[in-house]
Amino acid sequence: MSARLARHGRLIDRRKPLQFTFNGRHLHGYQGDTLASALLANGQTLVGRSFKYHRPRGIVAAGPEEPNALVGLGKGAGFEPNQRATTTELFDGLIAESQNHWPSLEFDLGAVNKAMARFFPAGFYYKTFMFPRAAWEHLFEPIVRGAAGLGRVPQEKDKDTYEYFYHTTDILIVGGGIAGLQAAEIAGKSGLRVLLIEQTPDWGGRAMVDGVQINGIGAADWVEKALARLRAMPNVILRSRMMGAGVYDHGYALGYERLSDHDPKIPGPRHRLWRIRARRIITATGAIERPLSFAGNDIPGVMLAGAVRDYLENYGVSPGELTLVVTNNDNAYLSAIALHEAGLTVPAIIDARPEATGALPQKARALGLRVETGCAIGTVHGGKRVTSVTLCNQAGSGAILDEIPCDAVAMSGGWSPVVHLWSHCGGKLRWDADQAMFRPDPARPPRGANGAGFVIAAGTANGHLAAEAVMEDAAEAAAAAVRALGAKADPAKRATARSMPEMPILPVWSMPANAGPKLRMKTWLDFQNDVKVSDVRLAAQEGYESVEHTKRYTTLGMASDQGKLSNINGLAVLADSLSRDIPQVGTTTFRPPYHPISFGAIAGEARGPLFKPLRKSPIHDWLDANGAHWEPVADWRRPYCLRRSGETVKEAVTREILNTRQNVGLLDASTLGKIIVKGPDAGRFLDMLYTNMMSSLKVGRCRYGLMCNENGFLIDDGVVVRLSDDTFLCHTTSGGSDRIHAWMEEWLQTEWWDWQVYTANVTEQFAQIGIVGPKARSVLEALGGMDVSREALPFMAFQEGQIAGIRARVYRISFSGELSYEIAVPAALGQAFWNKALAAGGDFGMQPYGTEALHVMRAEKGFIMIGDETDGTVIPQDLNLGWAISRKKDDFLGKRAQQRPHMVDPNRKQLVGLLTEDPQVVLPDAAHAVEGPKRANGMENIIGHVTSSYYSPTLGHSIAMALIKGGSRRMGETLRFPVADGVVIRAQVVDPVFLDKEGERQNV
């Protein structure tokens, strides 16, 4: 059983005990513990269940590579699933729960899957859930959904805050081990700006655990001194608890800083996402130890040898009383020696190599430890805890030589450099057969904007495992980065390091070498996703030769640890199954983030009201105080209607329509886009942008215009006003102002750059207020100051002057079919004008109205709305707007495309009006019209769809518009619209202008 020792534990403070709970049990730990070390100290070896078979799983590692110890942390609004116990710092009051089990961690019904393991091979889902089709809905999907997912979804809104931080630096160094510190010192002395980041709270990496001596003193002392020197450099920034999450194009990197995970009482944001632009990035990210592939290597108590050493030295925790060590290298002997020297028992060191003659094995033997060379573990015995292992020959197939009781196994299959950050942006790897590892290929680094490599790997991350080589490589890496940036560096002024020499590793990918199917079925590669050696072999046998395909077929390396432990072992098994070399098979792609980061950090402050900036019209606050029922319109909010007390939304809309049609309405139209187009070539330019002729528009007049893209499709509409000979004001849709302004600029800057035209988006410079209805003129006359008579201000004309003492431009345009004026005043005077209009309108029954009334009234008149009647595939001709397409112009954007055969096909969908047979029934938006026999697949033959549909209070019946194939030739036909549950609505095709076809209401 794992336990806390009386001595050891350089990172914990035994004077500061902490309390925490795991699955409701009250446990104790110390300041400096991780949740993993504290769980082990409490004898809690079993920490979770595996994803597929619900097998009992224990802590394997001591860092971010941990596959098993995933827990739910916190509660309520602070709950977070899938947190690694190994990267969670313990604090007082921490609440953790294990995952993926039911009803309890100790007794799990899902573990029946384990008995079924024979029936869940690689590709099980692909093979099983095929037929019959009906079984999907009722059988397969409920089962798959029930079993899917790891951890609980938080049920409350996250209570914490997050933020971004932007940072520019000359050199970013990722990893605060001895290599990172050494590199930072060399780089810091050059005077360049250096940012050194370390993912854990502590500096120095593994050097202290491994007993490295630097400059003749212990690593811990050297690290303290190095940190002091670095802190004295004003050009160097140090950040711990900050992980290098990803490296991207041109020296961009993400840093993930955890500010208060270790102490939730700290105020301020919980995580900070650093968005870093670095001219050079040094990755001093160390290495991760590989498991060995033997049967039962997933049973709780089997751990990485390095992790065993970490828990012992850093936290004073022993993984067991009898810890057997199994290895293919010298490094794991360090763990055996450390355990022995701590007074614990190491029943045997099983070394797969034929002989072990290095300094470390010699020391182990001298201490009296049993070393079995040329041997392997045949199988591990135990259920929720290791009880013994069988010893066999590595060269054989598993014949038992001995059975050795133990309650923990420390395994080491060698070390893999952490090459993730090197690889994220295209850095390539080479296979080092001597050290059995992929390491960065310095000839093929990720390249920056100037073509030079911008990432330099350093130390262990660059494939150097011995401390002296690490220091030398780190100094050279820093010097290379500094020199590349034009500064001076002296790599000779580095520290020297000494560690125990190690003899070569023997690559071992299967233990024993000739393990049969029975052992392979119990030999795990990916602990979190339950992928075994037998699964990868099956995939290879079934033809999955590419490592990327095998990954997806078996889910190897697809868990939240992204295969940090499993990938190299898995591809070695694949290579062996395919009789290929490992470099031929290659690795899967390394993608950011290196280790999961929180969604909160990615979102930063962009949540709630800050998710998207809100544009407000000058009348916004008044509308808000007067019953506005808001709806989003592009970046704006517009009032759907303005409710009076006791009124429903529907009642308000009806009242607003009828009042506008009978008396007069007041509309805030300020959100309409307003773009000034000015210059000697302005008319010529607008002739190209609009389908109709704009250069012929007379000063003082308005014209409705359509804009198409080069595909011929309608993209925007609005009224164009000629303010002076060389100045036009183009109105766009509310959502279109920025887009259309950019569209104009694109053509002016990239195609017709010799044309003399300027544009300015003045949308927010003006409030624009509509006074609409039969009594509109009376209201304006009451406001006073401008002759708005039929003669002085005819339809589609405008006047500039004063209205009610406010400088105004008055357009006589109509989107409702009523007598209508739109009055533009300076934005700052918008509310003042609104108030005066309200006061003057009172006598005439004026009421403000919202967007729904606007929509219904425009639909009653058959006016189109961009986004309703258009969907990016509609040309003006489809909408009966051929009258707005000039035949005189040689060219305009979209003209050539509208001549394509498909665009002139008489069977294109065309706009029609619809009257339902039952006038009180309103068609649902987007309802499909169907016709003729069903298609071969049993679906109806669709001939079109409803684009706008409303109940018209003016007419007392429903109205709709639709795009129907060959619609203009179908007048009078009755169409079928199946809506739901066998209900079919029938509607007659009519002219889309439902009200006042002659336009007499506006022509007064």
């Binding site: 961009y252 904007a449 100037n450 950019a742």
Partner: protein, 112 residues
């Protein structure tokens, strides 16, 4: 995230401040063009592995369009220049040739 030099502002700009505009140096085929030319203009785009000319707009800055000569495989940028030109400036072409001796030249050998 790419970083491109805005030739108008004179600063290096993060990709998030830019809007991509696809292939540069397209020749517009308007009214009266034949089907093949119009199809090429409207639909056919190069997608080379290697040297490519692109349009970018400094949307969250000066608002100007500019062109970038860039390697799609290594992300090397050979230069950025005004969009108001029908072909890449000579100095940019020379830089590409120096970095990519096998480059066939602007408009040559890189048709789809």
């Amino acid at each position: 995230m790419l970083s491109l030099h805005c030739p108008y502002c004179g600063v290096d700009v993060d990709e998030t401040d830019l809007t991509p505009g696809g292939e540069a140096h397209l020749v517009r085929s308007g009214s009266g063009s034949d089907d093949a030319d119009f199809e090429a203009y409207l639909f056919m785009r190069k997608n080379p592995r290697g040297v490519h000319f692109e349009r970018w707009r400094h949307s969250f800055g000066c608002g100007k369009w500019f062109h970038a000569a860039r390697a799609t495989d290594t992300l090397e940028v050979f230069g950025t220049y005004s969009a108001q030109t029908k072909e890449p400036p000579q100095d940019v072409q020379e830089r590409i040739r120096a970095r990519r001796p096998d480059w066939k030249g602007f408009g040559k050998g890189d048709r789809i």
